[in-house]
Amino acid sequence: MATQKEILIRVIENMSKKLIAAENELTELDSIGDADCGSGVRRGFEAVSGVMEEFGSLEVGDILKKVGFTLAYTIGGTSGAMLGTGFIETGKSIGEKTDPSASDWANAVQSALNVIKRRGGNTSVGDKTLVDSLEPAVFTMKAILEASQPPESGTGEGSTDNAAMLQLIEGAFMAAKEGSDRTIDMIAKKGRASYVGQRSKGNRDPGSLIIVIMFEAALEVLRSGK
């Protein structure tokens, strides 16, 4: 069975491929912003692809941080800061763990969410940003974990099997997708799109779509089941 590190690398690979392919769609959605979201994300994940060979010598947490810094160093703009922050915080939270549990992953993504919200100037759900897909994903992951197992307070370690992770990411993906869909009817209150007020309605937030694609990329890898 593949190690978590191997799976993570495949997820990052798939994510990069899908996000690079989504360039035009993201740019188009960002045209009520400043139409640079797609090219930034492409630039960022091309750079990630360029540093993948270094992952061999790193563990899970450091791989995530490496991805985060690479994005923060190459994208620029809001998405560079937010995606960079997200991966860096996720990596920090995973820390030295080589085989994090499902609940470690959920906690890690939650701490990423927290820092993203602070970084964005207290972004909330409803502001029409990537938080609208990321926060429901985090809540869903938490809910799934609570429902499926008694709180294992204090232990935290322990290997996590593929099935649990699959269920977790499936839920996150669905929740992110629904959250992203809800951005369509929102009036932007944060980011550039907020300057146009009413006119931001009717357009999906590009950042929220990035989150959807990320969970989708993870899901595809987990489903491929290796």
């Binding site: 740019t27 640079d36 930034g40 630039r43 923060a72 620029g76 560079g80 800061a81 922050t85 550039r192």
Partner: protein, 332 residues
């Protein structure tokens, strides 16, 4: 799209290279991070850095020089500069007295400068602080939005704070206070006749009809708040100037500096038509004009249109505005 460029991805780097080649004694660059910094030796001053997406030239790389900025972080076109560039720029320009970041209020710029500040704090220095500039009255300030944008009024902040640091050697905290004071006293608003075209997209960011104008447009081709039918200059300029005046408000007896800022594609002759209208209005209101600045100061690529900024003055601001700055953008 026809522009004087080679590959869209190389636009910013080639521009910065031209800037350094044209000012070889005064400027240096870290090209792969798009950092431009002063080459002349300076000591014992708090360093000043501004950064934002490129495409607003002369803001901000062309303002690096004695009496203004010590370094500029130029992002890709219209995208905030990256974290590492900000961190490295701060390390390059610091002379031991700390670094002040002057950042126009856009989410991306704020977030990247904030990350850089945290990273520098974590690494143990240099000591940095940030002032967010938000002079654009087109965006209603509110805790529920990203807040007002920073636009051409930022130039007054750079100039005044740059002169203060260069000439009077104050510390980081005082300089920050001064920057906030300038920001508190400056208000701006602009409008567009024509959208800009980014090199990457190659077509206009927003579409304006042949008889439409966009009031309150942002610096990146973000559409503004209101689309109106095109009008004679007298009416357009009066509208935006009224919004600026009412906001602070500027009142009878105030003394101000006026900036008429071209957005990139509008000839300077038209900017002077706008200047005449604004100056007539201020005269009627008995607002005293100390100095009028008319040029392309903070642009949006090839966007056509202009913005009007007013800065309420005190004696310190006046002295610092008038002190010389040696910057690469100039005539003779």
């Amino acid at each position: 799209m026809k522009k004087i460029i080679n590959k869209p991805d190389d636009v910013v780097n080639e521009m910065l290279k031209g800037l350094v080649l044209a000012n070889p004694e005064k400027l240096s660059a870290v090209y792969d991070k798009r950092i431009i910094y002063r080459k002349d030796p300076y000591l014992n001053k708090v360093a000043i850095i501004s950064g934002s997406g490129s495409g607003h030239e002369p803001d901000q790389a062309f303002y690096v020089g004695r009496g203004m900025l010590d370094a500029a972080c130029a992002g890709p076109v219209f995208a905030a500069p990256t974290l590492d560039a900000i961190v490295d720029a701060a390390k390059i320009v610091d002379r031991g007295r700390g670094v002040l970041f002057l950042v126009k209020n856009y989410t991306g710029d704020r977030a990247n400068f904030e990350m850089a500040s945290e990273m520098l704090e974590f690494e143990g220095g240099p000591n940095v602080d940030t002032v967010i500039i938000n002079d654009d009255v087109a965006v209603k300030d509110s805790t529920y939005t990203a807040g007002r944008r920073g636009v051409a009024g930022a130039m007054f902040v750079y100039k005044i704070v740059g002169a203060k640091s260069e000439e009077e050697g104050v510390n980081l905290a005082s300089l920050k206070k001064l920057a906030m004071e300038v920001n508190d006293n400056v208000r701006s608003m602009g409008f567009a006749l024509k959208s800009c075209t980014t090199p990457a997209k190659g077509s206009p960011t927003f579409d304006l009809g042949d008889d439409e104008i966009e009031m309150g447009v942002g610096l990146h081709g973000e559409p503004g708040r209101q689309r109106l039918k095109h009008m004679p200059a007298n009416q357009i300029i009066k509208k935006i100037t009224d919004s600026v005046i009412e906001d602070l408000p500027f009142i009878c007896g105030d003394e101000v500096a006026v900036m008429i800022n071209g957005l990139g594609g509008t000839p300077i002759g038209e900017l002077y038509i706008a200047a005449g209208i604004v100056l007539d209005m201020l005269k009627d209101l008995k607002i005293k004009v100390f100095k009028t600045y008319v040029n392309n100061f903070c642009t949006s690529l090839d966007m056509e249109g202009c913005s009007v900024s007013l800065l309420k003055l005190n004696e310190e601001f006046k002295r610092l505005l008038e002190s010389p700055a040696d910057i690469p953008v100039r005539y003779f």
